[in-house]
């Protein structure tokens, strides 16, 4: 456990030393926060609720979405890409620790950092100027926390699987971008999927995307009540299992190849 904890600490130290980045990232988040709040206020002007969601809930939705965006900024894909490019990824595989635990610790370190540097300030600014992002109830909040952890795992596994692709093709170029756009739009990170035409909504239920952003947030604002929330968490667990197995399979394949070709 020790090396992984140390990794988290290193990440924290690194993040603290980049003071411009901290500030600039925060400014970006605040811009995003205000722009989406104005956007929804304009959309709701004179309208009580759409799809049983009122203006206040929608504002909370966008605040929480921005916060989740911070938590989900996962670096495993990028770490692998850079290492494959420099050709020193084989060295990592030879270290006496599991490198994916190492990458995971790094990312957890990032989450801890962003809670301190971004999320708490965002919550304060949002409460003061836009809306107090209060959960629908304590039960909803607990279910939200559980489902966010699941979302995180889904996101992380998707990133890690994409990272593993770099072993085959040194540069998958814009493919990673395409994946990111898909996730952003299909997960309801900005516009909830419940506003989409019914046929698309029905299709998206069978894909993992909505379980990353929309599902936990709708639990938070109370659009999803506790019982369906539990079902949703079960579905998330199934996705985690699926992606976990896929990841394990690809990883074993890659490791075998590295042993044969020597990186």
């Amino acid at each position: 456990m020790k090396p992984y904890l140390y990794m988290i600490k290193i990440k924290l130290l690194l993040a603290l030393s980049y003071r411009y980045e901290v500030f600039i990232t925060f400014i970006t988040q605040i811009i995003l926060l205000f722009v989406s709040s104005f956007f929804w206020k304009a959309a709701y002007k004179g309208i009580d609720s759409v799809a049983m969601v009122n203006e206040r809930q929608m504002l909370i939705y966008s605040v929480i979405s921005i916060i989740l965006g911070n938590i989900f900024s996962i670096s495993v894909e990028d770490s692998i890409r850079q290492k494959v490019r420099k050709g020193n990824v084989a060295v990592d595989f030879l270290k006496p620790v599991n490198i994916f635990y190492m990458y995971f610790s790094e990312d957890i370190g990032n989450v801890v950092t962003s809670v301190v540097q971004q999320i708490i300030p965002i919550l304060i600014v949002s409460s003061l100027f836009i809306v107090v992002p209060a959960p629908a109830s304590a039960v909803h909040f607990i279910l939200f926390l559980v489902s966010v952890c699941c979302s995180y795992l889904i996101m992380w596994l998707i990133s890690a699987i994409f990272g593993l692709f770099y072993f085959w093709v040194i540069d998958i170029g814009p493919l990673g971008e395409i994946k990111n756009y898909m996730i952003l739009i299909l997960s309801g990170s900005f516009v909830p999927v419940w506003l989409f035409p019914p046929i698309i909504q029905k299709t998206l239920v069978f894909l993992p995307f909505v379980y990353i952003y929309q599902f936990p947030i709708s639990v938070f604002i109370g659009k999803t009540s506790p019982m369906p929330a539990l079902t949703g968490i079960a579905v998330q667990a199934v996705w985690i299992l699926g992606f976990g197995l896929l990841f394990g399979k690809i990883k074993r394949h890659v490791e075998k190849n590295i042993m044969v070709q020597g990186g």
Binding site: Y18, Y20, E21, I24, T25, I27, T28, I31, L32, F34, V35, F38, F39, K41, A42, A43, Y44, K45, G46, I47, V50, A51, D171, I172, G173, P174, L175, E177, I178, Y181, L184, I185, F190, V191, L195, F196
Partner: protein, 270 residues
């Protein structure tokens, strides 16, 4: 005159070289051809979904918003082609590329603009033109002589305005070592300002985007004039002409900041 033709010839050579470079990686090119349009299609879906579920945003119908959005993407594409290297300025400085430019007998700013001419930006242009054409038809925009001229003025102005702002932000890397993320901020700002009618924001924000950081001119003001749509503030005169003037002004400002930055670099190093 002689230097002008020399720089013209140089620019042509660099253009050729950069197209050649791009063609070295056909897979990337195809990747961008898919991913960039995808991004804009998703943007369009967002607008469609929200307007059809709620109402016209700030009095702008879906068709008008598409026109606005398309106009924004075209000037974005043009600015990517022409000014992308300003995004990497910090990188060019830390990697010593700037030193190299300083020991070449050419204007440094010219080298910045043309040594990495990026025609990947054209993959933005294509969806931009399609979306814009659709917007023109849907919002029944009339291609009269006056309208066409105004449109051209607006496009040139918007591209120059983006270029100027990119250059200013890029030149900040002379002072701040890691200004790369600032570019992210700017990107988000432009992205939103281009996507939605600006009059959905409170007057103070509109004021900032008009008089301080005039991104309203990138597409909102010209589009509002060309479509007779709600512009929030009632600005006097021809808004497309204003866009042109503001664009050229900001571009010059960008060059000035760059020059000052370069002088600072020469006295401080990296």
């Amino acid at each position: 005159m002689k230097t002008l033709s020399r720089y013209g010839l140089m620019a042509m050579t660099l253009l050729k070289i950069n197209i050649q470079r791009g063609l070295e990686y056909p897979a990337h090119l195809i990747g961008w051809l898919i991913s960039n349009p995808l991004q804009f299609i998703f943007g369009l879906i967002t607008i469609k979904v929200v307007i059809s579920n709620f109402q016209a945003l700030g009095g702008w119908s879906f068709e008008q918003t598409v026109f606005l959005y398309g106009l924004g993407i075209i000037s974005h594409g043009l600015s990517v082609v022409l000014f992308i290297q300003t995004w990497y300025m910090g990188f060019l400085i830390t990697e010593g590329e700037l030193d190299r430019m300083l020991v070449r007998p050419l204007n440094v700013f010219f080298q910045f603009c043309f040594f990495d001419f990026n025609f990947i930006g054209l993959t933005d242009m294509l969806p931009g033109i399609i979306i814009f054409t659709y917007g023109c038809m849907a919002a029944s925009f009339q291609f009269t002589l006056a309208n066409t001229l105004n449109l051209l003025l607006a496009l040139v102005g918007a591209t120059a305005l983006r270029g100027g702002l990119y250059t200013i932000i890029g030149a900040l890397s002379f002072w701040i070592q890691r200004s790369r993320q600032l570019i992210g901020v700017q990107w988000k700002l432009f992205d939103y300002s281009a996507k939605y009618p600006m009059n959905i924001y409170p007057p103070i924000v509109q004021g900032i985007f008009t008089f301080l950081l005039p991104i309203g001119f990138i597409c909102f003001y010209p589009a509002s004039q060309l479509l007779y749509a709600n512009a929030g503030f009632a600005l006097p005169g021809n808004l497309c002409l204003w866009t042109f003037a503001v664009g050229i002004g900001f571009y010059m400002l960008g060059m000035m900041v760059f020059k000052i930055g370069l002088r600072w670099y020469e006295s401080c190093g990296s």
